[in-house]
Amino acid sequence: MSQMNMIQAINSAHLLMMEKDPSVVVLGEDVGYFGGVFRCTDGLQKKFGEHRVIDAPIAEGGIISTAIGMGVNGLRPVAEIQFADYIYPGFDQIVSELSRLRYRSGGEFFSPVTIRTPCGGGIRGGQTHSQSPEGIFSHISGIKTVMPSNPYDAKGLLISAIESDDPVIFFEPKRIYNGPFDGDPDKPGVSWSTHPMGEVPKGYYNVPLGKAAVVEEGDELTIICYGTIVHVAQAATRLTGVRAEIIDVRTLFPLDIDTLKKSVEKTGRCLVAHEATRFCGYGAELVSSVQQECFWHLEAPIERVTGWDTPYPHAFEWKYFPGQQRIAAGIRKVMEAG
């Protein structure tokens, strides 16, 4: 075991998989010589060479389609899109090619591409360095979507994503790359070194796709969340004193409905929280699935706490962000209802 932040954990997953499987290649903007703007691919090109860690120009459509082409023809590419906000030039390639190729070809063609992309706000990055588009991608049949909330899961899930024969969009909440964040921007930052999930094995392990994690056990309320909001929800729960069960879905698609169901059947109350905008957001699917599975166990309407339906609002970043107070208010509302 060693202490790692999320960047080091992601770097370690790359390193191990590239050592283990010569077909694993990495490409993206400044991933090679420079080591990635967030340093996730630091040192890889030096170790594995320019043919396996490929620097690409600013051409996201080209990067993603090249990754697809490599995947179809015997390689296992990990493409980095520097910010999720810049994934859209490659959206057509993801939707029209990557996700559908297996189905369209009757199972003959597939491309085991992993697309890693930092997402989410809270870094004063403005509209093009802050978005949370995970719901858009979770809507597309044929790909899987993942968002870890800590270094241990980040490494284990990334290894599973790379090993998967299905395409995976791997969202990395950049606000928690260096340490957990409880939603209070005025507090000094904390590092992963004191967090139990910052304990990461140096060697190989995996965290399976499609399995949620129960982060905290409780019997009064189920909070379903992922990414940065896991930590905010933990803090918000402490504010209210409610015995909440906090579930980190980790893999957005395929969703581990069994774990959610088991919890809500026990607690009878449910709150869904995410940083992304609300309308047609991923939380809508969570609410719908829980309602369908657990309707007769529910004692109150399911509550949703999310970002507002705005373009990412730079100056109002902390108003937009579903912080401790908003989640705590949501918790109280669910507890008081019914």
């Binding site: 077909s23 290649v25 043919h51 396996r52 490929i54 690409a56 120009p57 051409a59 459509g61 080209g62 389609s65 090249t66 990754a67 697809i68 082409g69 490599m70 995947g71 179809v72 023809n73 015997g74 390689l75 590419p77 030039p89 057509d92 390639q93 029209s96 090619e97 190729l101 297996r102 189905y103 369209r104 070809s105 009757g106 199972g107 003959e108 063609f109 597939f110 049949s141 044929g142 899987k144 998967s164 024969d165 299905d166 395929p254």
Partner: protein, 324 residues
């Protein structure tokens, strides 16, 4: 120079595409062909001229005008027809349809209707071939309509800076759907875009099998030798509309007829090989007869084939089963 046997193979392939498409035109008008189809008749020289230069380790990508390239690459023509008719034993089990024909065993990555994507996906196929040292090349057949898409420019740049074993063939049939190249493409000459990306670009007569074959051979050799990508613009016309049922109000009335009379790729092929005494006319005539019989059997079998079962709906979305 190609052997007599190779020439007969090429002729058979062109004739097969032509007859398949002429019959599809008739069947479509009668009803019974599901959805819509984009026919390749008139353009046979380019797909066949390309594929004659490819081996099993190479990858062909093409567009929605997909029947011709699939047949040229050697996909089972019965499975191609069944795919168009949405049948369970179609090339892609009925999942793809006319505009999406894929076949691993013939090296046909095949068609995508996002018209320029083949160039960009081809970059990855080419990069994989180089990394895995297969000696293979990728060829992207795309239309004139594709050159204006952003991803094509991204891909041409990548192909050039990475010196990829990629050959890009712009099949310029004069119209992107109903919009003429003269209107839609700045500079009009597609091949000239090559200069901006620091790669060779040439224009060939796309109705001349031999011109296409020779230029593609040079480009494939160059790609295999590690010297990077090339662009070939094959100027041609299609004999039918963008899709079947297209009123083609945007075309001069006699455009197709003139080409069929004086510039048809099959007629020109025959003339060329007979003038040079490279094949016997009787062999060409036998191929014509055999192909006509084959096409009869293909359509008969396709129309009688079973549809996929409902249990197949959720298959092959993911590597492992997903039931929704």
């Amino acid at each position: 120079m190609q052997s007599t046997k190779e020439l007969l193979v090429a002729y058979r392939s062109m004739r097969t595409i032509r007859e398949f498409e002429e019959r599809m035109h008739i069947e479509f008008a009668k009803g019974g062909v599901p959805g819509f189809v984009h026919l390749y008749a008139g353009q046979e020289a380019s797909a066949v001229g390309v594929c004659a230069n490819l081996s099993g380790k190479d990858v062909l990508l093409n567009t929605h005008r997909a029947h011709g390239p699939a047949i040229a690459r050697g996909a089972d023509i019965f499975a191609v027809a069944k795919e168009i008719y949405c049948r369970g034993e179609g090339l892609c089990k009925g999942r793809g349809g006319s505009a999406h024909l894929h076949d691993v065993k013939s090296g046909l990555w095949g068609a995508n209707s996002g018209v320029g994507s083949g160039v960009a996906l081809g970059c990855g196929a080419a990069l994989a071939a180089r990394n895995l040292k297969t000696g293979g090349v990728a060829v992207a057949l795309v239309g004139d309509g594709a050159v204006n898409q952003g991803v094509v420019s991204e891909a041409l740049n990548l192909a050039s800076i990475w010196k990829l074993p990629l050959v890009i063939v712009f099949e310029n049939n004069g119209y992107g759907e109903a919009t003429a190249v003269d209107y839609a493409v700045a500079g009009k000459d597609l091949y000239k875009r090559a200069a901006a990306f620091d790669m060779p670009g040439v224009k060939v007569d796309g109705h001349d099998y031999f011109a296409v074959y020779d230029e593609v051979r040079l480009a494939v050799e160059r790609a295999r030798a590690g010297h990077g990508p090339s662009i070939i613009e094959a100027k041609q016309i299609r004999y039918f509309g963008h899709f079947e049922g297209d009123a083609q109000t945007y075309r001069p009335k006699n455009e197709v007829e003139q080409c069929r009379q004086g510039n048809d790729c099959l007629k020109r092929f025959r003339q060329h090989v007979l003038n040079e005494n490279r094949v016997e006319e009787s062999d060409l005539n036998s191929i014509d007869t055999e192909v006509a019989d084959l096409i009869d059997r293909v359509y008969k079998e396709a129309k009688a084939a079973r549809f996929p079962g409902e249990d197949e709906l959720m298959q092959s979305i993911y590597a492992s089963e997903y039931q929704g």
